[in-house]
């Protein structure tokens, strides 16, 4: 019922050379650097990377939610033919929460503790969809039921503190899908949850996507989560998107030394009892305010050579194909 046909073949969202900078008295840093990707309809893009790699900032910048003193300083964010960067606050407000929704890592701090769950869902329905009070109430019951909350009518009167972490995340999802968005931005939606609850939430999101054809950008530090939920994977490091491609290709044949290192560093549950030492990535992630010259991964890279100091950091492949910013890795597959 929610399926809406897209005009033509153009992607829902197309981001080009998105650059986000943070400036304060001490200096200036780029949290996201010429990041480009696109999300077609009914498609899930997974973004992986470690803390500070710019994955959350990139996601937030799409809706103009970069925290002060951050600022989008270059690039374009084309949403169905309109550049979100050029829209006025009011116009953006109409898209935010309606066509594009967002869920966050910590549902505790995203729900308002002094309003009941019902208030918070109906607020959304009344503001964005202009429903009447009664209609919004009925729809809220439906939504809570949809996200798997038992006895939804009673739960509407509950306050966030009366719910468990998993239930709160379900409420967040209910609010996010209330307006039947075309794109859901999920910023580490299961990081704060236990593995069995994570499994439930991810299954729920998959079900909703299947039903509605909603697209999703899933940001996570957990490669396993992204592997199981994304069609396409983008790997970020130090503000750069270093590799992008179909999930299977990137995770089974990484073409950037960082992706390869990341995959090697993960303990594998099926190698239980073998007790082989892990292969960590040497060194520390770089300081964003003081990036190394050339490729930001170069000080930790096992394949480093003198050309890495002047590499262009362009993804070497066309749209939709498996691309890497590292020109020196081909044939080295993991």
């Amino acid at each position: 019922m929610m399926k809406q046909s897209m005009s033509g073949e153009s992607p829902l969202l197309k981001v080009d050379d998105l650059t986000v900078g943070f400036a304060d008295r001490r200096g200036f840093l780029l949290a996201a650097n010429r990041v480009s990707f696109s999300v077609p309809k009914d498609h899930t893009l997974g973004v992986v990377g470690e803390s500070g790699c710019g994955k959350s900032v990139t996601l937030r910048s799409l809706l103009g939610l970069v925290p002060y003193p951050g600022e989008v300083i270059a690039g374009s964010i084309m949403w169905m033919g309109r550049d979100l960067r050029t829209l006025s606050k009011k116009e953006l407000e109409r898209i935010r929460g309606k066509d594009i929704s967002m869920i966050f890592q910590d549902p505790t701090s995203c729900l308002n503790p002094v309003f009941s769950v019902g208030d918070q869902i109906t607020e959304m329905l009344r503001m964005k969809l202009h429903m009447s009070r009664q209609k919004a109430f009925n729809r809220a019951v439906e939504l809570l039921d949809r996200v798997g909350i038992p006895s939804p009518k009673q739960r509407l009167a509950d306050y966030p503190h009366q719910l468990s972490g998993g239930m709160r995340q379900r409420v967040m999802i209910a609010i996010a899908i209330a307006s039947q968005p075309k794109l859901l931005l999920a910023d580490e939606p299961t990081t704060a949850l236990d593995v069995t609850i994570q499994d439930q939430i991810l299954s729920l999101l998959a079900e909703i996507r299947e039903e509605t054809g909603m697209s999703m950008i899933l940001v996570s530090h957990d490669v396993g989560v992204v592997a199981q939920n994304a069609d396409e994977v983008a790997v970020m490091y130090a503000g750069w998107l270093v590799e992008r491609g179909a999930a299977r290709e990137v995770l089974h044949g990484p073409r950037h030394p960082y992706t390869q290192g990341l995959l090697n560093a993960i303990p594998k549950i099926d190698q239980v009892g073998q007790r082989n030492p892990l292969v960590p990535i040497q060194g520390q992630p770089p300081n964003l305010a003081n990036l190394p010259q050339g490729c930001p991964f170069q000080p930790r890279c096992p394949f480093v050579n003198e050309r890495c100091y002047s590499v262009s950091m362009e993804l070497d492949r066309q749209e939709r194909e498996h691309g890497s910013t590292c020109p020196f890795m081909d044939g080295e597959g993991a």
């Binding site: 593995v195 069995t196 499994d199």
Partner: protein, 350 residues
């Protein structure tokens, strides 16, 4: 076999184990209002640990896994008596930890060191790395001022930090470096047991791998016994020789890690393994486990997993399941004992 008989039968190593925990229980009571106490309402009791037994040998790493609220950290804290357990016994090298006097417990704690999850809050921000690392040894009178810098030098080397960090304060260090300082600090007292409570959970994957390798080296090189608490199964699979799966204050399955992970015999273990996302596996169409962990104020009767279990029988709701040794050293507390293999389930009677 009773639960009491079990504590003794897992002595896998030679000689007496380094640490023996037997039937450990811990309850927390919450306040009730004056009115409720006048009317004789019972004080609400949170069952954090209920009859947990385990042993740890020298040169061995025991993994503790479970969801939040399963009692992993409470176990750790009860072992070193940061919480006073309500029942049970803890023997460290044959010495009774729970009845030890003030002087004795100081000595015991010196030999059993805890490492915490968050290196941002577990280190004093005002102390330099040098002061943080040498402080415990100084307090316990193991070094004097002159021996301090040698000790710090040696420990920094041991945890692979450059000696130049000695004069920095924690805020100048990254998360991984801070956790190395916390480990160096724990090692400064030459402990025999290290209890790592989610010690790698806050770290990024690339740093986590460095830390896991470091823990592995330490365990081998210093002959330590280690209790490694984590919620990530892959971490436990990597680091521990034996594993105990905890649920709602109890151990539900324990045994050699490969045995438990490859041939689980408790539905909860199986669900945890199926819920764990990996690169290789496909996502299940339906969640591995429905529902949430019950409140520790109201523990279900019978088997405490019965609210979420797919294999329940009548007795699961009335009787507490006894431990059953399904293979040498591998125990499961389940009446039904289903056999699981690669998603296919065959139910075994008896």
């Amino acid at each position: 076999m009773s639960i009491h008989g079990w504590g003794g039968c897992v002595k896998s190593g030679k000689g007496s184990p380094l640490l023996e925990v037997h039937d450990l229980s811990k309850y927390f009571f919450t306040k009730r209002t004056v009115l409720k106490s006048i009317f004789g309402k019972p004080q609400p009791r949170l069952v954090a640990l209920d009859g947990v037994s385990m042993t740890l040998n020298r040169n061995e790493t025991l993994g503790l896994v479970g969801e939040s609220g399963s009692g992993k950290s409470t176990t750790a804290r009860c072992i070193v008596r940061l919480h006073e357990p309500d029942k049970g016994s803890v023997l460290f090298e044959g010495r009774d930890v729970l009845s030890a006097g003030a002087e004795e417990i100081r000595k015991i704690r010196r030999e059993m060191q805890l490492i915490y999850q968050d290196p941002y809050t577990s280190l004093n921000p005002r102390l330099t790395v040098r002061a943080a690392i040498s402080e415990p040894a100084r307090v316990h009178g193991l070094v004097d001022r002159s021996g301090e810098s040698d000790l710090v030098e040696e420990l920094l080397l041991r945890v692979s930090l450059p000696s130049t960090v000695a004069d920095l304060r924690p805020r100048a260090l990254s998360g991984g470096q801070r956790q190395r300082v916390a480990i160096a600090r724990a090692l400064s007292l030459h402990p025999k047991v290290i209890i790592a409570d989610e010690a790698v959970s806050a770290l990024d994957v690339s740093i986590q791998a460095q830390m896991l390798n470091l823990f592995d080296e330490l365990c081998k090189g210093l002959g330590l016994g280690m209790i490694f608490i984590a919620h990530q199964l892959s971490v436990i699979a990597h680091i521990s020789q034996r594993v105990a799966i905890m649920y709602l204050g109890r151990i539900v399955e324990t045994g050699p890690t490969p045995e438990v992970f490859l041939r689980p015999r408790h539905p909860y273990t199986d669900a945890l393994l199926k819920a764990h996302p990996t690169i290789e596996s496909q996502r299940n169409r339906t969640p591995a486990l429905s529902g949430e962990i019950p409140s520790p104020y109201a523990i279900p009767r019978g088997c405490r997993f019965n609210t979420r279990c797919r294999y329940t029988e009548n007795r699961c709701f009335s009787e507490d399941p006894p431990p059953v040794e399904v293979s040498p050293g591998h125990y499961s507390w389940c009446h039904v004992l289903p056999e699981f293999s690669s998603g296919m389930v065959t139910k075994k009677t008896g």
